[in-house]
């Protein structure tokens, strides 16, 4: 495909830690995916246009990837308000992808000044005043950071002129219709309410004590594995709920409970239904679940 016919891709950063940029660099097919586009600017890859060109608005774009939290006033690059830059390029883009929880909902950087810092089109779950202007072209990809393959899915769908189904927060349902719990290798322990005894163990579920938010966090981390290999919960670390609008929450390594009852229920499960099931399931002692999966002492 010639550079005339390839969509122009611009990666623009606001208040960010570069996490999404770096995450995407881990994609095994990074350059193959980018070959579908004319990369006009990227924070770390070599491109035809410089940051200076960008600031002088010499660049045009078809696909805009936004990384980082949004601040209307006071966040400048070389004397230019980044918010005005974002809105200028968003005005001409046919597709706007908010890459990461910061650009989508506000994320970690929102903590610094919750009143002034938000996502581009959402402030937590609320729509910002910009939403109406850009909604028809908006794709939300929350995550801290995004999974590289979530972004490649969206880019390849765009490159192939395919319609991306989205939910009310503009997240692709193909990626966020699941919970992180889906595909977790600990599901059998969740079903039988067996908690893990420590981090990093293969046995037990992290939902009851270790703070795992997988059952109520949208994302496909256990379906599309990280580095094609694993996920947080598979290696014995709780899901931190990094794709959710209210991320980050506090005490990420412990489950908030009220008299032993998880304060937050799995997504869409009524508390009464969950507790009824829990009470019944906990009444049984299944010998297999009391044993190590691999007995290293033998």
């Amino acid at each position: 495909m010639s550079s005339q016919t390839r969509p122009k891709l611009l990666w623009l950063q606001s208040i960010t830690c570069n996490g999404n940029t770096h995450s995407f660099l881990n994609h095994p097919d990074l350059f193959l995916i980018l070959s579908h586009f004319e990369l006009v600017h990227h924070p770390v890859l070599e491109t035809a246009y410089t940051m200076e060109d960008l600031l002088q608005k010499k660049v045009s774009c078809d696909v805009l990837i936004l990384e980082g939290s949004f601040q209307e006033e006071g966040f400048l690059k070389d004397g230019v308000e980044v918010s005005s830059l974002i809105q200028y390029y968003a005005g001409q883009a046919k597709h706007i992808i908010t890459a990461g929880t910061c650009a989508t909902f506000g994320g970690i950087f929102k903590q610094k000044d919750p009143a002034a810092i938000s996502g581009f089109c959402f402030d937590l779950e609320e729509r910002t005043m910009r939403y109406k202007t850009y909604a028809s072209r908006l794709i939300s990809l929350p995550g801290c950071p995004i999974h590289p393959k979530w972004l490649s899915y969206v880019l390849l769908m765009i490159a192939n002129k395919r319609q991306i189904e989205i939910d009310t927060l503009h997240r692709p349902v193909e990626l966020y219709g699941y919970t992180v719990h889906t595909g977790c290798t600990r599901n059998e322990y969740f079903e039988w309410k067996i908690d893990t005894k420590n981090f990093g163990l293969k046995e037990g579920c992290l939902f009851y004590e270790q703070g795992c938010q997988g059952p109520y966090t949208r994302g496909s981390c256990n379906k599309i594995l990280w580095n094609d290999t694993s996920s947080k919960t598979r290696v014995g670390t709780p899901c931190f709920g990094c794709t959710e609008p209210n991320y980050p929450q506090e005490s990420l390594f412990s489950t908030k409970t009220n008299m032993g009852i998880p304060a937050k229920m799995p997504l869409g499960i009524p508390r009464r239904a969950y507790l009824t099931l829990t009470g019944v399931v906990k009444s049984f002692k299944i010998k297999r679940f009391t044993e190590r999966l691999l007995d290293y002492d033998k």
Binding site: T257, M259, A263, R272, L275, T276, G279, S283, F284
Partner: protein, 197 residues
Amino acid sequence: MKIAEKKALKRESIIQTALQLFSTNGFHKTTIPDIASKLKMSVGNLYNYFSSKDVLAQEIIKYTSEVLGEKIRVVNMTEGTAEEKIHQIVTIYFTMAKEKPEMIEYFLRVYLSNREVFSDGCEGMVCVSGFITEIMIFFDDAVSSGELRNQDFFSAFGLFMGYLGGMVFLKGEGVLPKEIEKYIDDISLNIYNALKV
């Protein structure tokens, strides 16, 4: 009336009659013919509804747990404070102990005293989950609202229900000097004081 409805009513009347007999005469001293005779039905027909005395005993504990759970559920759905709800739950429990003593007596004198009957099919909380679930929801709400102290479920549950069960047991033994409803205010306050933040 449809046949299915008739059967459901019959089933419930068997449960209620058996509940009464088990609670009054004891589980082992009550036979299936005793229950059938009181209901004026044949033993064979009773077995059409429940395949054994043990199965009937298990259905009864589920039934009583659901009845009590339903009443506490109504309390859970109201807007009151934890202190008010404790008072309402104690009132429900003691009123039931007075008006339908067989319901509570069955739990104390049959369910808790004949564990072998319930070991296969009613393990742990399987048959009492209707009631336990509502107590869990009460505690969860009360801790969320900052009224009760956060602690292990069973330490709070034992204090609450062990206390109520103990009082009804004493009533059953005939050693309480006053009618059980006279204790509602004091006991509710004691429970609240023990569990509050």
